[in-house]
């Protein structure tokens, strides 16, 4: 067979390459890398993602091909949440992965807004690590994640 659909999935390619939160002006609010890139490359990726995502409208899909990968993204007010994965990855699972993450942020920061992410950038990393690790989904239960975050919050 020229194309065995399953064949392509059985490669160790399926993981998140990076997660980006950007505003409409292209300012990065979070960049989490799960693959080695040097600093220049990171900057280039950030700009490219911004360019491909911001031109799309609400009638478009939430997926866009990107180099050899694809970006799954969703826009919340002025912020774009983008996840870069392999082309064979499950689009809808990551799309809801983003939403699940946003709901956790919303609960944790009590109606999250862009400024929360700016002033508490170091806490956002903690939230990400609770939910995504090594490019994989680590925990999906909002209750469990929030309980853990509040426990950490109570520590000195």
């Amino acid at each position: 067979a020229i194309c065995r659909p399953g064949g392509s999935k059985c490669r160790d390619l399926n993981y998140i390459r990076f997660i980006l939160i950007q505003n409409r002006a292209g300012k990065t609010r979070l960049a989490k890398w799960y693959m080695q890139f040097d600093d220049d490359e990171k900057q280039k990726l950030i700009e490219e993602v911004h360019a491909v995502v911001t031109v799309r409208d609400a009638k478009h899909t939430n997926f866009v091909e990107f180099r050899n990968f694809k970006i799954i993204y969703r826009r919340y007010a002025g912020l774009y949440f983008c996840i870069c994965v392999d082309v064979t990855d499950n689009n809808l699972a990551y799309l809801e992965g983003i939403h699940n993450f946003v709901e956790v942020l919303n609960e944790y920061f009590h109606n999250v807004c862009e400024l929360d992410l700016v002033f508490n950038f170091y806490k956002v990393y903690t939230v990400v690590d609770e939910m995504f690790l090594a490019g994989e989904i680590r925990e999906t239960s909002q209750t469990k994640v929030l309980k853990q975050l509040l426990m950490l919050q109570s520590l000195e």
């Binding site: 399953g6 478009h60 809808l92 990393y125 994989e136 925990e139 999906t140 000195e156």
Partner: protein, 959 residues
Amino acid sequence: MPAVSKGDGMRGLAVFISDIRNCKSKEAEIKRINKELANIRSKFKGDKALDGYSKKKYVCKLLFIFLLGHDIDFGHMEAVNLLSSNKYTEKQIGYLFISVLVNSNSELIRLINNAIKNDLSSRNPTFMCLALHCIANVGSREMAEAFASEIPRILVAGDTMDSVKQSAALCLLRLYKTSPDLVLMGEWTSRVVHLLNDQHMGVVTAAISLITCLSQKNPDEFKTCVSLAVSRLSRIVSSASTDLQDYTYYFVPAPWLSCKLLRLLQCYPPPEDGAVKGRLVECLETILNKAQEPPKSKKVQHSNAKNAILFEAISLIIHYDSEPNLLVRACNQLGQFLQHRETNLRYLALESMCTLASSEFSHEAVKTHIETVINALKTERDVSVRQRAADLLYAMCDRSNAKQIVAEMLSYLETADYSIREEMVLKVAILAEKYAVDYSWYVDTILNLIRIAGDYVSEEVWYRVIQIVINRDDVQGYAAKTVFEALQAPACHENMVKVGGYILGEFGNLIAGDPRSSPLVQFNLLHSKFHLCSVPTRALLLSAYIKFINLFPETKATIQEVLRCDSQIRNSDVELQQRAVEYLKLSSIASTDVLATVLEEMPPFPERESSILAKLKKKKGPGAVSVPELDDKREGGELNGGGDRGPDTAAMSASNAVSRYVLVASSCLFMYIGCTTFSWPYCKFPFVFQSTPSPSADLLGIRSAAPIGATPTSTGSLLVDVFSEAGPAAPSAAVNDDGFLRFVCKNNGVLFENQLLQIGIKSEYRQNLGRMYLFYGNKTSVQFASFTTTTKPVEPLVEGGAQIQQVLNIECLTDFSEAPLLNIKFRYGGALQNLSLKLPVTINKFFQPTEMTSHDFFQRWKQLSQPQQEAQKIFKANHGMDTEVLKAKLLGLGTALLDDVDPNPENYVCAGVIQTKGQQVGCLLRLEPNGQAQMYRLTLRCSKDSVSMRLCELLAQQF
């Protein structure tokens, strides 16, 4: 639930961030940052010891400055100090700084690893998780070396907290991906599989990613995970929407875990155990049933989560490709989505249906949606959706609907997005060729392509139409008529002129009977385009003109006139000038017989893989092309010759043919008029003069290319274990020791040659697998009979001048030093010929390069310090000691050539891992040239003694 209040924690940090946000200009921001940097620097340098809080605050500010895009060159030490704080918030900032500003500063790495070690053994789950997250985020080799054995222990220990297990599983996954050689399988592996049964769904969610990755690499060792995954999936799928509480997302039970379970199952064939399989089929049916149920919520999150599972289930059904009922149900479900109001679903349905189209069970079901898909191609707003629609039309195309699909694709091309035109053109060209029942339709289609999207018609496409017209005499007259008509258009694309020139030059005589397309009319038509064309096209037209002189002697005077005019014979382009001069002389001096021979009609091209199919594959990456395979069998090996034998075989043979033609033509000229110029720059005009290989062809160095007149007659492909006892046992003297050694650092070339036979090889290796193509060329004009090789059957007769091909699949089971032998027997005349050759399969072929820093290298070097792990040789240089040549050889060896590692820049160091089925052998190499003495010292250190020895032996003869 209480939320975080803004700016709590570090006031100074909040003030600083506000200041930065208030800066009106970039300059103001830089000024403010520099002020802060100076402040922090003085605090860090001050005599007063900083308390933990201040240290944390300053490190956090530095991190913020770094994230704004400024370089940070201090503060690392303070960050490392924070790691050993026993306050969570301080430790957290320390770890964050380290994770974001990864720095392989060797001094610090030791301190960092030390702090991580303390936290891992602290039994404090919060600290353990911080440490594990840091390892998972950095994932460096040093960390792998320090912790790869510790983490599995934490993962499977009975008393480890659930959250720590989650982090440990993914941390181990990261280390396994970056340094697989350091993560050793062991007693823990079987216990990891059982994490699929863990009560805590979060642990399962994390562990399954690790298990999936490990299963891909070691499927046998982990195959018990299949039944565990099936029963876990079954429990989730059959649970009520509230059973799983925390893990229910918008009324969908554990959607992410379900997807991961379904994906894990895609690493394996369908379960053999009937009960397990039955249970799984039941799950898949339930998932398909649920898609039909009314939604439990109107929220898009609900339907997305549900459909995420559905699409993953469909992927699994397609992967198994064995349950017709499920395949057809999947297809019907996707059919509903094709008209869904959500663009996402339409897109995903088109994408998923593409793979369904390639299954014999669902191909017909997919075809029923053709109208909807065509409509999508015409009306979708999002170009990526239209592209999927085009992909699906391509995938569902077969003989029954080819004309409709090709017509739709052609009409779409007129308005198609520029970004996808080239690919569309290739697809149309492929379908038109593949399903051409009558070739006039094919010719029309391709000419239409050129007319509509000429700029996007690559060379491969127009080469191909010419190859087909040349090879099929039933279409030649029609092709000549059609191009003649197409050229009437006032503005036609240059590609049309090329095809027109070529075809009329070959077959213009077939339409010359009609006075409306008499020879002179044809010539004038072509020549009217001449001045608007680029140099390569003009060169092609000149060749068409000389062909005209042969076809139609009555045009000779007119054409000679054209050739003789200054704009040709004194053209500033050397190629055009030379053609004009030589063609003019040829036409005036050569006798009719000579002309007729030199300018004879092209012989048929060998049938190989379509050059355009190869091009599409190259464009989309291997595995991405889904030509409906149902038809491949019937078409009789369109892919013969193997996709790897050069993507442009057709084009290549075309240019070889030109070389041959040029050679003969030029030597004619040389004989007749004493012309001394012999160079004839490359052109792609496939006139061939004769089709049997002649010894003179070798002068042009094309002998290693596939012979033009001889198609490969046999392409066997069986998996042969060339390392079985039968292989290397017979020590009968191999005749090709020299040949063999030339292949240590390269993969392609001529392995053996004598007066009768030439054997070329091409080989490629990936991890522990390899594939070798052997090309046996009969150099004589006499048939070889009873041709056999040890490995497997090939075509028993090899015609004179012919070449046959054989493919060997190679798997490296364990390290080895003897090369496998290949025995070849055949009869030439009456005599039995017997050859025994060493196949150039050497252990270094299975190298994976490993990049590492100087520090890593020498650390690993020290670790491999047992005397038997090292092999060393000092030897005299056999070849020049040119740096570039040496580098090329070392790269050819398969290892990574590491720069800036050895303190002496003259030395070369390399690192790599040899992949065998059973194990991986890490290897380090150091080559120290001594230019004055013309000597080398070569040192190898490998984790396995026998490998060091063998590599040293092999390499000592290479430099």
